[in-house]
Symmetry: C2
Subunit: 378 residues, 2 copies
């Protein structure tokens, strides 16, 4: 059931110069195709049938990932990339209808899970795939599964493993919610597990032991006192971060603890390699560690440079007088960078309300996004 | 089954001037009466029958606690106090017979659970109860249950609640393992739970939040840098301690944590009241806390002064040219101090091997202990 789907008669007129379609209503239709991670199948079936009905597209399906391409022999090929899954549905009494699984339009706002992250982006891509049969550059639409869960499940990895040829091209735009502005590149991430060693003793005789929790004080002071590095790349200011995200230690109420563990999350800007970033964190910690402590990298991801000097991304920015800032978080653009392809984040919706039960999308945001993409490819 | 219980013929002779009994063999007999906390009943039944058979003793049983008194109208009454329970039995392949529940004498060493803590002490008291019918001071033997478990179960509390008259007297000796020297009084203890407040944020934008784990750095530095106060009371040097014994915090790998918790254990010397000790810790922490942090005292116990100026304790020390030191841990002597009675720790066995699977008792230790007690009461 879609509540409030219909618009007032005057707003049935196309609201942008480039699309006769009500993009908010199209997004609502996509929201109603519930597609929580690992359960994207039926939604992907529906998308696949739609895309296969378009004669100008070649469609491939790999698992629950869908790739639709124009084959016009253009000089350039642009990838328009979006994930089909959403975070879990929320059932709550303070939601209209008791759930955010049902799309609801109120005025120029669409409510529902995934409206921002990222069925608005998908609606833009789907509309381009349906209506722009002869784009100025060849287009590859990539709809991939399982982005909102552990990276090991990510559909882009599956595609790169099984059919890397489908992802060839010159440049990629990832439809993550950026509210119609460019959030260029992304920072890399790295998590460390630091284990501080000690020796157990009875708390009545602490000098017989070595308190591993006390030993964290120096490293915590260094981390808390860290001032963020802020490199500017292609005019975008990145802001690195270093945060203790987990701490644990302790044996019993009267025992000097012999082990304490600190997990640290580091985001680094794309002017550093992953190795440089790791070496920097290790050097910061070194003064506060002793020989029997350990520092282990439990995961790390690559950064992605802004690449705003690529002709297509440059046009996206310049033709729309667009706000450009650095993406401080990590997104799948880094997977394209890893394969040597310039990529940026550009989509509709406000990222700060993504993953909340009151997720919603404004008409102005999606129409601005669509207009810029349409101009870029026509 | 008691392995190796019998002694070589020459050692059947009394080894002290004051006891014809083989005290190590008597302790072995008590070890064989297994009495893990909450399961002391059968052992207490056996003790009760033995004590009731002695015409010079008045015996009262309250639950699984046993009190046996002489009623000679002496000027002074000395309490000889021991707990009947032990920590759990250990079954392990590297133990002779596969368990430490079975007493085993090898030469002058007795192996078995509770041999040190504190069936050696009980053996001394039982031997005095059996053999000294006309002591120089009236004696109250207190055998109490459930010392090795949470304090709420402690048999002394039950006795003080139900029959405080049975615990009246001038002075108490608690048979905790001190290897035949005096460990005077005891330090009080106190545990604090300190909660550091913060505000969640995405680690890509940590300036939107407040990292509660980082905020612990100051308090941890202060605690780690604390130099122990060492007051000397009645010639005994107490050494206080302040130890972080538990730490926890963290929400998720990419979230600035909004809460961190530190548990702190403090032992304070008996020249401070419990209120003074608490105020001191709070003042040490105060510089490192903010308004929305909390400091909660989760438990606290009283200290016990050495009381070595009490005539009986003074005699115990002086007549035996005895080593005297402060008890840095906490023991049930504090319960007597709380009720205004001087008390000290004095028993056989090495406390550092109590509660280990290889717990054992040396003959010299129990014989030295018994000789001093015997001299004191005769």
């Amino acid at each position: 059931m879609v509540l409030g789907r219909s618009r007032a008669p005057d707003s049935l007129l196309p609201v942008t110069d480039c699309s006769p379609t009500d993009l908010l209503a199209l997004t609502a239709e996509l929201v109603d195709h519930t597609s929580v991670s690992f359960e994207e199948g039926p939604f992907v079936d529906w998308l696949e049938a739609d895309l296969r009905s378009r004669a100008h597209l070649t469609v491939d399906r790999i698992g629950d990932n869908l790739v639709a391409r124009t084959q016009l022999g253009r000089d350039q090929r642009l990838l328009l990339v979006g994930h089909t899954d959403t975070v879990p549905v929320v059932e709550a009494a303070d939601l209209v209808g008791g759930t955010n699984a049902i799309a609801r339009i109120e005025g120029d706002t669409l409510w529902g899970v995934g409206s921002t992250d990222m069925k608005g982006g998908l609606a833009c891509f789907l509309e381009l795939a349906r209506t722009v049969a002869e784009p100025a550059v060849d287009l590859t639409f990539v709809f991939y599964a399982r982005e909102e869960v552990a990276q090991v499940h990510n559909g882009l990895i599956e595609l790169y493993d099984e059919r890397p040829d489908l992802l060839e091209g010159d440049c990629a735009i990832l439809g993550e919610p950026t509210d119609g502005s460019i959030e260029a590149g992304c920072q890399g991430t790295m998590r460390f597990e630091v284990t501080f060693a000690g020796a157990r003793a009875h708390t009545a005789r602490p000098w017989m032991g070595r308190n591993a929790v006390h030993r964290m004080a120096g490293a915590l002071t260094a981390i808390a006192g860290y001032e963020a590095r802020r490199p500017v790349i292609d005019g975008c200011e990145f802001i690195e971060s270093l945060q203790a995200v987990h701490v644990e230690g302790g044996v019993a109420g009267n025992v000097v603890p012999d082990r304490a563990m600190l997990r640290i999350h580091h985001r680094y800007a794309p002017d550093r390699s992953v190795e440089e970033a790791e070496a920097w964190v290790r050097s910061l910690l070194a003064d506060h560690l002793e020989d029997d402590d350990t520092v282990e990298v439990i995961d790390r991801t690559l950064a992605c440079p802004p690449s705003l000097d690529h002709p297509l991304l440059q046009r996206l920015r310049d033709d729309n007088d667009m706000t450009v800032k650095a993406k401080l978080g990590w997104t799948d653009v880094a997977r394209f960078a890893e394969h040597g392809m310039p990529a940026t984040n550009f989509g509709s919706g406000d990222a700060t309300i993504a993953h909340t039960k009151h997720e919603h999308l404004e008409r102005a945001s999606i129409e601005r996004t669509y207009a810029a993409l349409h101009a870029l490819v026509t």
